[in-house]
Symmetry: C2
Subunit: 205 residues, 2 copies
């Protein structure tokens, strides 16, 4: 959608195979995700859990989540935005699907309603932190390390544009701490989640 030549250091799909095939690859992968989730040969989750997982992932990926964020991002390119707009984009474009990913694990693990609320906070916080870091890496990263074309967000709604580098970094730290606090109730069971949150807060690629 940004017509980049590279992703993770490799040529993008539409550059390799053309726009039509790239579009179909996207449709195929998106649909295949739902087929795999409901394939009894792949998943041993109960039908009740499966239904909830499909719902959360569709909600996070679709018109109320990632697609909404990406659409506002595209429509506001080159336009004057606000802090409210950049937060709306970031929470939906990246945060909603990361929340869904976290909730999927929680649902399969039979988390109760209170725990699901905590995992929602965890997912939304690391999701927003991830996207703010993307904005910072666009300014401070190197293309070799990040693996895509950088310094191309000048026309986009970014955290750096509306908050500056220092406040953006402080926001990441506070979001990572909020995420870690939300899963503290798991005790040592939270170790991998804490590692994931810290990774997102300090990644350079």
């Amino acid at each position: 959608m940004d017509n980049d030549d590279l992703r993770r250091g490799k040529p993008t799909c539409h550059k390799m195979f053309g726009e039509a095939v790239a579009l179909l690859a996207g449709d195929a992968l998106l649909t295949e995700a739902f087929r795999v989730m409901t394939d009894p040969a792949v998943s041993s989750a109960s039908p009740e859990v499966t239904q909830k997982v499909v719902y959360e992932i569709a909600r996070g990926a679709g018109a109320a989540g990632m697609v909404a964020g990406q659409a506002v991002d595209v429509v506001y390119e080159g336009k004057k935005g606000t802090k409210r707009i950049v937060n709306l984009i970031h929470r939906n474009k990246t945060g909603a699907l990361i929340r869904a990913s976290v909730l999927t694990g929680a649902l399969v693990g039979k988390a109760n309603k209170k725990a699901l609320n905590c995992f929602t906070i965890f997912g939304e916080s690391i999701g927003l932190a991830f996207q703010i870091m993307d904005d910072i890496l666009d300014v401070e990263g190197t293309e070799a390390e990040v693996g895509k074309k950088l310094k191309k967000d000048a026309e986009k709604q970014t955290y750096v544009r509306y908050y500056g580098i220092a406040a953006s970094k402080a926001r990441i730290d506070s979001l990572v701490n909020k995420a870690i606090d939300a899963v503290r109730f798991l005790g040592t069971g939270a170790d991998m989640l804490v590692q994931a949150a810290n990774f997102i807060g300090h990644r350079s690629f």
Copy 2:
């Protein structure tokens, strides 16, 4: 994907709103379908039925169905094909999702395995008939009635190209009869399905 200006007599989405927004609209609608199917506020189907319905629709729409057919269609555009290729395209591009639509009703209606096999034959037969009719309408239809640009399949793998008009029409008749035979066991309960099959076999738009 065919870069047409019109669909059903109206400007296509990418002509109205640009490619990026059209692409996102596609992703949003595809994902929203799965959200709606699993939303307990919308569907009263049991989790067991819901899981099977999502699976059948994902299988019909995705890499093993519609997307596969569309991909082969795109890749073979302007190339020499075979009867086998055109059948593969038509069965997947249109037939697989129509089969899934029919099976969805059957699953919600708690059809047994034998009945599901009959509905599969019904869906695949009317699906293939629908696509063959599309090829015929491209040659014989009028743009005003069909609602899209016609006479543009010269570079495509079509039934008319490999079988001719007369044999294509005969194939539609035989597929419609096969479909109707498959649901004969429903007695008068098959009336609407028979009407649908006959509509597909005689449509002019």
